[in-house]
Symmetry: none
Subunit: 306 residues, 6 copies
């Protein structure tokens, strides 16, 4: 099925995929590239240096400016507004446009504003009316002005254990909460951990994270061989553990609860309280080669379809 173009539209490009529909009063400039089965609603504008994937929906009142890269299956709500110049002045043109990337499956709510040079991750969801001033990680849900992460798509609350439900290309094991002993008496409280006993490995290293602004997300990587054991010794923090297919979210808020993140687990820490101090024990000294920092690469390694 060839593309369908409403007669009132001004479409100057011929790079339109099959099944794509262009509605009333839309302008498309000559070099724009639009995939298959897209739907571009009335009163939109698409400039030249724009690439749009397959099965993308663009609702009315949206402009796609030079520098935009829209992945497959993206939803763009009505009156969503993109930008490509951080400090615009009339008749001053930046030498190169800021690149803005919307990864596959993402959804941008109605009337949201997207600042230039931002990447919105796979399956992420931007709430209606939000003003997005920083990149959004895969699967995150953001809302507000400025937009903040308020959750992750489909993350279930983590329970103490949980049966492993899928086999993968590599050996992955489950993240697991550990209840450490706690002794309280009139002199205060005490909790103890013994390495290779109550903690499932010998620590070569610890690190502590603190003074984290509440908006921050940390972690966002996986390890190939290193085990980690996380304890929130003050305040609280939420940890999302993702095996490439599903996500589980754990709240750490007591010094006698530890979370074991085995290798090949994509870990995210967020919703830090102002007074949070996160203590992490690691089974290896620091080795940059042990980190997997790209989510798509991670999904490949663990055998999840990309």
């Amino acid at each position: 099925m060839s593309p369908s173009i409403h007669p009132s539209a001004d479409v100057q490009s011929s790079n339109l995929g099959n099944g794509t529909r262009i509605w009333q009063y839309v302008v498309v400039l000559p070099n724009a590239v639009i995939g298959q089965d897209c739907n571009i609603c009335s009163n939109c504008l698409i400039e030249n240096d724009v690439i749009v994937g397959d099965r993308v929906t663009v609702k009315s009142g949206v402009q796609l400016w030079d520098g935009l890269r829209i992945g497959d299956d993206v939803f763009i709500g009505p009156n969503v507004t993109f930008t490509n110049d951080k400090f615009p002045r009339s008749k001053h043109y930046p030498e190169t446009c800021s690149l803005t990337e919307i990864d596959p499956g993402a959804s941008i709510g109605a009337n949201a504003t997207i600042l230039p040079g931002i990447r919105i991750g796979r399956q992420a969801m931007v709430g209606a009316g939000s003003v997005v001033t920083r990149s959004v990680p895969p699967n995150a849900i953001v809302v507000g002005n400025p937009a903040r992460i308020v959750g992750y798509v489909d993350a279930e609350a983590g329970a103490p254990s949980g049966a492993k439900d899928s086999a993968s290309a590599l050996v992955q094991s489950d993240p697991r909460l550990h209840q450490l002993p706690k002794v309280a008496d009139i002199r205060g409280s005490l909790t103890v951990g013994e390495f290779e006993r109550s903690i499932p490995f010998l620590a070569k290293r610890y690190f502590m994270v603190f003074d984290v602004p509440s908006v921050e997300t940390r972690g966002e990587h996986a390890h190939r061989e290193c085990h980690q054991f996380l304890i929130c010794v003050n305040g609280q923090v939420s940890v999302v553990a993702d095996d490439g297919r599903t996500r589980r979210e754990f709240l750490l808020d007591r010094p006698d609860i530890g979370l074991h993140l085995p290798p090949l687990t994509w870990g995210i820490q967020y919703k830090y309280s102002a007074d949070a101090v996160l203590l992490v024990f690691a089974s290896h000294y620091y080795n940059n080669a042990d980190y997997i920092r790209d989510y798509d690469e991670f999904r490949k390694i663990v055998g999840a379809s990309v």
Copy 2:
């Protein structure tokens, strides 16, 4: 006078009332219903499952999606953005659209965003640029992202007494502030109320409201026979008393100030401080039949035109 349609518009519906004008580059789908004397400005889109009342103004850049119900005399500012899917994904369509209702006389400010499934009450006013995430009660003014109630339309600040200015179908009397005695000495302060003396009725019942999130509005009903006497014993709260025609707003912030709400007064409590405790004495035991919970019904009962 028959409807007037600009030649550049693409109007596919014939359900347009007399005196209605459709401007440049507007799209109207075949099943849309639009009342009389409306004004639909340039670059708008109106889908099929949409009903618009009489004398409605829709400024430029607005889309009315399936599921919208617009009452008479509504104003919709430029680039206001509606939605009908809470978690939109491209090519996934909800089985049924969320219904969004804009009641008669409401006004939605420029570039506001309205989330799906919301009702905006009669005469309510949404500030420009607001993101409305919850329903808005009649006469309320909301602003911000997310939008919060900041006042009520035409509410005057309540003074100690005030002459009654309008006769009604039923006997209505005025809400009135009472200054109760307060005695302070080195042991602290004490305030006293005597029923049927300083308080104009005998109490059969009291209730207390506390731990109210600051965003909340409570009350929003009238009684047929029951008198109420409100004292904010800690923190502060604002009370709007509405006789169906005009509204007066009272700030309660001291344990020795009481507000008498006679029957047939529509009462609203809002702007609770975090530590507010509101004590209410009632002249009757609880009786569900004594409540009038619908504002339109209330206006009918007190003889205000609807």
Copy 3:
């Protein structure tokens, strides 16, 4: 048995009761009056305008200055120090001494300091090393510098009900805690009381007490006929209910807990938190004749031996 006086003592008074013993290096001036079976330990001084009851113990190092009145069965610890001039200057003598009264059965701990013009109530207990700057009510326990009430002698923690254990000359019923309904939802919390239903009488009057300095004790009286129902609607307060024989202490710290104090109950409120607001419903209008303000009179009325 006639009084026994150590030969090293200098006793100039002949007003000594039978069985009283005076030890080494004690001075007693001519007009002092001392009861029976007292024990005055070494190195004490007793001036002229002093009256000491029966069975009083005065440990070593204590001076009883002009103006002191010591009831029966009082214990005065070692080095306890009394005063009779608030702003002493050498060679300036006050026209009249401040009167200091220690009521029967009271106990003053070692090395305590008692400021002038103070009354220490029946059975009250002053902690060792305390500096007492204000009068102490009956049965109260005070400690610190300055001394604060920290409890009441023999007060048990009040439980929801409790069987009445002694018959008295008049009909007394027990104080009782009532759990009132509480409904909490996203809009906040609500608690309700209905007079003559969940509250065991019809209220003619309410009063509220607030802004009470933490050191203060209020109440300290009983009613002949009036019922009271106490609710601490903000903060917390402790209530001691005394039937003339035993005391029970109740902590009020929630708006949905009420304490019914029937007539002929001696009530004391203390340990007010800074933000406490105590709401009291009363079954009668104010009537001064209904108050019993003297603890000894109260004990007579309820048939407790004095």
Copy 4:
């Protein structure tokens, strides 16, 4: 070069300057006045009582309502939304439109909302997605809902001294931070200033500014002859010193740091903390004639091109 108008546009005005381009689906009403070399992108609307200067860019999806005055070189981002009625109701028209002025060189970010009756100053920059509810001073940067000043265009952080880099028509000298002595011991801290010694002039006058709401900007003027010396004795405040060409920003947050503002310096104070107290010494008594309150006049006096 005469104006260029796309054939799909509906341009009813002939007041278009040379070099101006009007794109697809734009409506321009008959009395609108548009200057030279402007660019009006697709899907815009321009009403009658509108004046647009030269070299103005209006991106897609914007309406310019009656009452708008746009200066030269202004940039208006996509979907920016203007208003001209503070309390809009359908079919109620204000007698006169609120005038909204956008001064030369200003830039309004994508999807911003501008409330009626506002003036946006020369070179000011409104962040994308902002909701502007108050006028914006020259050179200010505002963001958020509601929009707040977060900085000034091109202001560098002030360092202790700094070489003067440009000659001007009049004798201007640099603002300069002074470190005053501070002595701290167990009794507290002390700082001292001596006029004509550590402070470069004799004070005839001081004033203090306090209780400033955090949103407020004060100052915004220059003096012809008067020197000022600013100390923030409590809390903190930021001071922008502008010589007509460049701006430097100083943070005052300690009682032992003073900022000398010589004459012919345009000074702005903002970002007051809630507890800020700003102490200012002045070398002259108050004289209204010494004030330069208009930024354009100031730039003329110091020889900066306007």
Copy 5:
């Protein structure tokens, strides 16, 4: 060397070690055991069930009650008061006395009170006037009521250092409060002072005092020629102005109130709030010779009898 007993003492025990001295008016009961080289000063009492080690010093006015065990080398200050019954009542004797142990080398400061059943560790030091309610560990230093650990014996800590001079003829004038103008509007508040106009002299110098611990008193001197003008620009402070005969106290708590202290006024500042910032203008540069730092000298200079 056999024990030495003053003839005025009443020593009934023969268990006294060599070299021990008993002074005037001391009572020792028959079963007391006292070691060698002890010194029991005048007016003490030692009961029967008491064991005292060697080289113990007991200063005057102390009673050692049944149940006390005193180690070697212990120091017991004058009027120290021990106890052996936690809830003493006259004529009620505990079945067994609480045991109180004072370990070797400990030191109990003058007039301290020791509650029953306590152990005071080796070398521990109890501050004068303390009320000890809990056992004290070895080497600890405790002070206060109740006593708290404030350090350990011989633990080092840092300390700092202090200056003075004088002669003039005399004219004294009164200190005087000045109400300075205050202008408040929506942008905040402003207060102004003009030297030689609203402030009665020309300022050569200012200083500011801040971060003063609340217990501190500053000032405590007079000037011969220098005028001062004090403004509390944040928080509050009290100033006592003394002309050598009478004192007046001023509370400074607002930035628009100034206090003029003329020469030959003895000034004291105290009751600083935690956030107080006191700004002082002085009519002269700093000159040590202008200070009068001795109160008696000051009184002579101003002609007050000493």
Copy 6:
């Protein structure tokens, strides 16, 4: 009128002024000097190096120690206790007594305690039961423990290292603070420790201590072989490290500071802030035999004389 001395008194001095009276059981040593018209009540003691002015009143139970200078017209209440040695130890005599001066006209309330080396100014007034730890300025009124100035009479309302200094029987090494790396960026702060690298041993175990009441002391033991590494990850705590001879105190208040306590160090933790969390790494699993819990035993093991 010559002095009057009660026959039971032991007055060895002849330096008594006319009109002075000495009462029962008073001791006056030979070199004491007492002025005219004084009154020394029963059971007092006056040592040699004491000078008392004229018209002084000393109530019962008071000792005037060497080093006291009492001005004219001073009032000393009953059981007031003076001192002349700041750190008294039995049989250790200071080379010179601290001088304590009570200036003319001062008044010291009953049972007050006066620390050594203090001057109490002219007309000052010390409240009953106060513990005076600092000099009192002229005219001041002080009360409490410790005594604080509450008014004026007649005022109207208006380090990181340290060389090891002693060799011991066993190999002891010094406790040492370690500065761990800290990296702070916009995402928060991070500190890292590597076992056997930045931390001088491999951890077999960690424990955390929290919720410690501020009054508590923990630790109070040494290890034979186990190393410990202490980090206060939140709040603050003080650690005393004692090698048996000297003590050093460390404040831990940052997550990037660690304290290494080698074996054979007696450690004490105290002064916990309310929010303190102390993390301890240990080089060995728990082994009770490794603990030395008795301080005397510890001192023997490390070769310190006991």
